[in-house]
Amino acid sequence: MPGHRSYRWTELWLLLFPSLFLIVGLWTLLSVPLILSGSQDKVGTLPPLDSFTPALGLIAVLLLAHIALIIIAPDADQTILPIAGTLSSIGVLMALRLGPSLGDPSLGIRQLIWVIAGLVLCVLTVRFTRDLRWVRNYKYTWAAVGIALVAFTLVRARSFSTNAPSRDVLSIGPGGLSFQPSELLKICLVIFFAGYLSENREMLKEAHFQVWKFKLPPLKHLGPLLAMLGIALLIFVGVRELGLAILIFGLFLSMLYVASERPLYIVTSIALFVFGAFVAYHLFSYARERVGLVTNAFGQATGAGYQIVQGLVAFGTGGVLGTGFGLGHPCIVPACTTDFVASSFGEEFGFAGVLALIALFMLLVYRGMHVAVGARGSFNQLLAVGLTAVFGLQTLVILAGNLKLLPLTGVPLPFVAYGGSSVIANFIIIGLLLRLSQSTA
């Protein structure tokens, strides 16, 4: 509404809750060691203010991001920042809590710094994508950057032992500041898909050729489909990153379906995927091992299945209300801050907490789709769909992996899992979604 300035009161109100969550969570975390060490008389009293620094720092940065949005994007969606803020508050609290258990007390502060850097980048993204056309016009550049990132990871992967855990293979850079190119690859690919699909939308919708009673996509459109499946398989075989492969292929499928409005493509692609998976299962022992861990985890509970079994035990230990924040032993599970952060959360917050966490991710996806529905032009709509699908697919793949419903893959749970590049990439996506919702209002 021109002439009427929005001060984003809804967003401010919603930011109150993650702020309270941070303070209560940190207070719990400070009280637990007092009880365990026997100085129980100190428990009810307020701890010194400076021990709340991490929580207050994050609250301050969230409020600064809120003020920045009032200035640069007053009409953007007001629920997205609070949802992302809540999820990253959970992430920071989990890192603060799990760091000492791993003998790494600075873990929480490092995660906090990543979240702050992410929020800054989020605001910068909103500021510098005011005209989304430049993002669109350079779509082949984005694709090239994406391919360069894949090639780089492939080369790096070759120089590593192929038995290394998938997560480490993809990290580059010096020790503490490892950076995973695959995180930025997702954003590049979404932009490229959105550009490609919005240009070829009409053809994808109309054209088909008929074999007996079945309408099939024309052969020239099967090309990109097969290429995407090929890239996904290449990542799976070359880097052994099953999660990234599923994510890229799932992303392409969701965007293709939205662009073409035809289930035909999905059926064809899933058939191709099943065929590819079948071939991979018989060709590569690595694939068989992964599937074997789902079908028979408890049979190898002390060996290869140790992690997944301990993760399930952690979920079970939590029960309905959890052991209490800071009162469980989540770090018995290997990778309790990254791949298995969901089981750490499940142990201490219980079924109730996990349900709330899933609800938060569902709301994030819902608001993302809401932005997509209101966006102008097919490029913007497809971009919003793709960016939202990144969150949805990642959450689905890693939670299903943790719960032994799918083969476990090294995909980070958005905002919650420890990891700098993941947090930063996710906040860039949040920035793009905010920009897309601003230009529709």
Binding site: T10, W13, G44, S198, E202
Partner: protein
Amino acid sequence: MSDPYTFLLVLRVALVALLYLIVLQVVFVSRRDMRRAATMGTGVVTRAKPAIGYLIVVDSGATTLVPGSRIPIEPVTTIGRSPTSTIVLETNFISTEHARILYKGNTLWVEDMNSRNGTLVDQVKITQPVAVKPGSTLQVGDVRFKFAAP
């Protein structure tokens, strides 16, 4: 606090309760947004001055039009890539002056302006002015409209 365990239990319950509060608040905001969108849709119609009719965007093609939006028809409505057109459509499939809609004798007429890709009324390519009524479809390039009564 006398009992530290009670205090800790309160904190534990508050922590999970806060997560649910956030979820509930976001749901409330979403519901309010939906209601507002519903009432805004009717507001636009009553505020608009009486028009001859509307074009409803069915398929925006490669343009930035919003599918479902209503464009009022004027006595002479020109469609094309040229910035002087009444309805400016910036895609390659559309000629500079593509088509026009005329209001003559209580009837709407669609006329093709020798566009390169042609104008389709009810999916038939037109060569001379054609009378249209509410419900007819109009396709210029990759953009599709439907005519609606005022």
